[in-house]
C-alpha cells in the first residue's frame, strides 16, 4: 500500500462563492455592493464577512440598481470595486453597465447564473449602445480563482468592465483551494480618479459617461465619446483566451464553456477511448470569442457541435467563427431543476456522451429526457406567417 500524498496545508475546503470572493480581495477589491438572489447570494455574504477585515466596505443595497450605483461611486475614487448578481439581477443593472463602460470605469461583475442562458446578456450586452465587456468563464473553482484576479487586472488595464460568468455549480460546490495573489505587469496610476483634493484648484475633474469636461478643458462631446469607446473594442479583442483538446485529428468538434464543459470534456475522453475522433474547443473568454480557433477547426472537421444549457446562444458565435466551412449544430438544450436555479437532466455525462455520439455518427438527437411534455403547439391562428 502506498502512503497517502502529504496534505497541502495551504489549501482550504471552501465553496466556490467564497473562493471567488477571497480571490477578489487578494486582487485588492475593497468595495462590493449587491442584493441577495439565488445562486449569487453567498457571494454577497462572503464579501460582507470578509471585506471589513481588510478595511473595505460591503453594502447590501436596496436593489441591484443601487448596488451597481454604489460600485460606480467607489470606482470613481480609484478603488477596485465589484458588483454582481444572477442574470435576472444583472438585467436591472444594464443601463448603468452601458454608462459605466462609457465612463471608462473598471467594474468587475459577477454573474452567478442560473445556467448558460445569460450568454447573450453577457456578450451582446443587455444595455443600450455600442459597448463590450470582457467575459471570463471559468470551468471550475480553481480556474475561477485565477480568472477573478485576471478580471481585476484586465478591468484596470483597459478601463473597461469585465464580467466573470459563473453559475450555481461553481458557486455552491466545494473544492480545496489555495487563494494567492497573482502578480501582473504594473499598471499606470489612476490619474483620472476623483478624490476631492483637486476641487477648488482649477484642475478638478469629472468622471462621466457624457462627453463633457470642465470649462476650459477639451471635451469629447457625445459623438466623440461614443466613437472613442467604439474604437477601443478592437484592441480589447486581443485578450482572447481558449483551451482546446484533440483538434489535430477531430472529425467532430464540440464547443462548450463554463462548468458544463467539464462534463463535455469527460464525455469526449470516454468517446476517444472508444476510438472516435472528437475534439473540443473551450472558450475561456466568451468575449472576445475565439473565432480564429473555431475557423481553423472548421476547416478540418466535418461538423461542429455547440453544447450549451439554454436554447442556443453561443451557437451564433460558433457559426460566425466557422464561417460556413463546416455545419454547426446545436446539441445542448434548456435544462434546469425544479427551482430554476441550477443543474438539470442534461448535465449528465451519459446523456452528453449520447448526444455527442449522435452528432458524430449522423444520428438524430434524442429529446432531452423529460421534456416531451413541454413542446410548443401552434394555435390555428398562428399556423401561417403574417405577410
Amino acid at each position: 500500500m502506498t502512503a497517502a500524498p502529504p496534505l497541502r496545508s495551504d489549501r482550504v475546503l471552501m465553496e466556490g462563492s467564497e473562493a471567488l470572493v477571497r480571490s477578489a480581495i487578494a486582487a485588492g477589491c475593497r468595495f462590493f455592493a449587491g442584493y441577495p438572489m439565488t445562486p449569487f447570494t453567498e457571494v454577497l455574504e462572503h464579501f460582507a464577512r470578509l471585506l471589513p477585515d481588510v478595511g473595505g466596505a460591503c453594502v447590501n443595497a436596496e436593489s441591484e440598481l443601487e448596488a451597481v450605483g454604489m460600485a460606480w461611486g467607489a470606482l470613481a475614487t480609484g478603488a477596485r470595486a465589484a458588483t454582481g448578481s444572477t442574470g435576472q439581477g444583472l438585467s436591472l443593472m444594464q443601463e448603468s453597465f452601458s454608462e459605466i463602460t462609457l465612463a471608462e470605469l473598471p467594474l468587475v461583475i459577477f454573474n452567478m447564473a442560473r445556467g448558460q442562458q445569460d450568454y447573450y446578456q453577457a456578450t451582446r450586452g443587455g444595455g443600450h449602445g455600442d459597448y463590450r465587456h470582457i467575459v471570463l468563464a471559468p470551468h471550475d473553482i480553481s480556474e475561477g480563482v485565477a480568472l477573478v484576479q485576471l478580471a481585476f487586472h484586465l478591468a484596470d488595464k483597459w478601463r473597461n468592465p469585465v464580467l466573470v460568468y459563473g453559475d450555481y455549480l461553481l458557486a455552491h460546490t466545494q473544492e480545496a483551494v489555495a487563494v494567492e495573489t497573482i502578480a501582473y505587469p504594473p499598471l499606470p496610476p489612476k490619474d483620472w480618479a476623483v478624490d476631492g483634493r483637486a476641487s477648488g484648484s482649477g484642475q478638478s475633474r469629472n468622471v462621466t459617461p457624457l462627453g463633457v469636461s470642465k470649462h476650459g478643458q477639451p471635451a469629447f462631446g457625445q459623438e466623440g465619446r461614443a466613437q472613442y469607446a467604439a474604437s477601443k473594442i478592437p484592441y480589447m479583442e486581443r485578450e482572447v483566451r481558449v483551451e482546446t483538446a484533440f483538434l489535430d485529428d477531430a472529425d467532430t468538434v464540440i464547443v462548450a464553456f463554463g462548468t458544463p464543459s467539464k462534463f463535455v470534456r469527460y464525455a469526449i475522453g470516454r468517446l476517444r477511448e472508444a476510438g472516435h475522433k472528437i475534439g473540443m474547443i473551450r472558450p475561456i473568454t466568451l468575449w472576445p470569442f475565439p473565432y480564429d480557433t473555431v475557423r481553423a477547426a472548421a476547416g478540418r472537421a466535418r461538423v461542429i457541435g455547440s453544447f450549451e444549457l439554454c436554447a442556443g446562444q453561443m451557437i451564433d458565435d460558433v457559426r460566425i467563427g466557422a464561417a460556413g466551412q463546416a455545419p454547426v449544430e446545436f446539441i445542448g438544450g434548456v435544462s434546469t431543476d425544479g427551482s430554476g436555479f441550477g443543474v438539470g437532466r442534461l448535465l449528465d455525462v451519459d446523456v452528453i456522451e449520447q448526444r455527442i455520439l449522435a452528432l458524430h455518427t449522423g444520428q438524430p438527437l434524442g429529446m432531452i429526457p423529460g421534456t416531451d411534455v413541454y413542446r410548443y403547439e401552434l394555435a390555428p391562428h398562428q399556423k401561417e406567417p403574417t405577410r
Binding site: 460606480w72 470613481a76 478624490d195 476631492g196 478638478s204 469629472n206 470649462h215
Partner: protein
C-alpha cells in the same frame, strides 16, 4: 415692493430716480461686498433659461463650501436635469450619475473616502420620481452625505412635465388641465418624508424666490455640510427654484407664482434639526418672523447670509 415690469427710466415710481449711473467698471475707492462669481465657479456662462432659480441655489452651496473651508475635500455627484451642465462649470471633483442614481453613487464615494464632503445635486424629477428609493434608503442608512434637491415641480429638461412634487392644479405637459388628485394623485413632500427617517439628521427646505429666502437657504447649506462634517448622519437641503419655462408663465412672475403654488405645499424652513421634526405651525411662525427680520436688515442696507 412692486414689480416695475418692462418700464424704464424714472417715471414709474412716486419719485424721480434721477439719471442712470455708470455701472460698466468697478468704482475707485470702494470695497467689494460680493464678488461676481463664487470661488468654485469657473464661469458665469450657463444654459439655464432667464429667471431660472437653479443657478441661484448653485451659488449658495458653492459659497457655503468655501466658507466652511472644505472646498479642497469636496466631491459632487450630479444627477440628470437642466443643472447637469453645471458639472463643467463647478470647480469640484465630480462624478456624473444617471437619472435618480446619485445617492447610491455618493454612497460608494463616501464609503471609500469618509473624510471628504460628498454631496449630490439632483432635481425633483431625478430624485423624487426616478430615484425615490435611492434617496430614502440612503437617508435611512444614515449615510454621511448631503443630498441637495432643486425642486421646481417639473421635469424641466424634457420640456415641462409633471413630477411627484408638482402640486394640485399645476398645469404641465402631462397634466394639461392642471394636476387632478383623482387622476394624477397627490404630490410627495419629500423633505417631510425624509425628516421622518431616523438616519436623517438635518433636513431643510429653502427657496430662492427673494433675497431673504436666498440668504436663509445659504445658511441651510452650511448647516447641512456641518452635519456631515460632524458625522451625524444624512443631511438634506431641498430648494424651491423657479422654472418659468416649465411653468409656462412670464419670467418675472416666477417668484410670486412659486410662493403661491409650490411654496404653499412644500413649506420652507428647517424641517428637522437635532433629531427633532418641527411642526408646520412652527415653520409658518418662523417664516413670518424671519421675513420681518430680513426686511429690516435690507432696509438698513445689510443682509447677513
Amino acid at each position: 415692493m412692486t414689480s416695475s415690469g418692462t418700464s424704464s427710466g424714472a417715471s414709474s415710481g412716486p419719485h424721480d430716480l434721477g439719471p442712470v449711473l455708470d455701472t460698466s467698471t468697478a468704482p475707485d475707492g470702494a470695497r467689494v461686498v460680493e464678488p461676481l462669481l463664487p470661488d468654485l465657479l469657473l464661469t458665469q456662462q450657463h444654459q439655464m433659461c432667464p429667471g431660472c432659480g437653479e443657478p441661484i441655489a448653485v451659488r449658495g452651496y458653492l459659497e457655503a463650501l468655501v466658507d466652511l473651508g472644505v472646498a479642497q475635500q469636496s466631491i459632487a455627484v450630479v444627477g440628470i436635469g437642466c443643472y447637469t451642465s453645471f458639472s463643467s462649470s463647478m470647480d469640484v471633483d465630480l462624478v456624473q450619475a444617471l437619472h435618480g442614481r446619485a445617492p447610491s453613487v455618493a454612497t460608494g464615494v463616501k464609503r471609500m473616502l469618509p473624510d471628504r464632503v460628498v454631496f449630490t445635486l439632483q432635481g425633483d424629477g431625478d430624485m423624487v420620481n426616478e430615484g425615490l428609493q435611492e434617496v430614502l434608503h440612503t437617508a435611512a442608512r444614515g449615510e454621511d452625505i448631503t443630498c441637495i434637491l432643486l425642486n421646481n415641480g417639473v421635469f424641466g429638461e424634457t420640456g415641462g412635465h409633471m413630477t411627484a412634487t408638482s402640486v394640485i392644479g399645476q398645469r404641465t405637459k402631462s397634466s394639461l388641465d392642471g394636476r387632478d388628485a383623482d387622476y394624477h394623485g397627490y404630490p410627495i413632500l419629500i423633505g417631510d418624508l425624509i425628516a421622518r427617517l431616523q438616519g436623517a439628521a438635518y433636513v431643510a427646505r429653502g427657496s430662492v424666490h427673494n433675497a431673504g429666502a436666498v440668504a436663509r437657504t445659504k445658511k441651510m447649506f452650511r448647516r447641512a455640510f456641518e452635519t456631515q462634517l460632524r458625522g451625524e448622519g444624512f443631511s438634506f437641503v431641498e430648494v424651491l427654484t423657479m422654472c418659468p419655462t416649465g411653468w409656462f408663465i412670464p419670467t418675472a412672475d416666477g417668484p410670486s407664482y412659486m410662493q403661491e403654488t409650490l411654496g404653499e405645499v412644500h413649506v420652507m424652513g428647517e424641517l428637522k434639526v437635532d433629531g427633532r421634526i418641527r411642526t408646520t405651525e412652527e415653520l409658518h411662525d418662523e417664516n413670518a418672523a424671519r421675513q420681518a427680520e430680513i426686511e429690516a436688515q435690507l432696509a438698513a442696507g445689510e443682509l447677513r447670509k
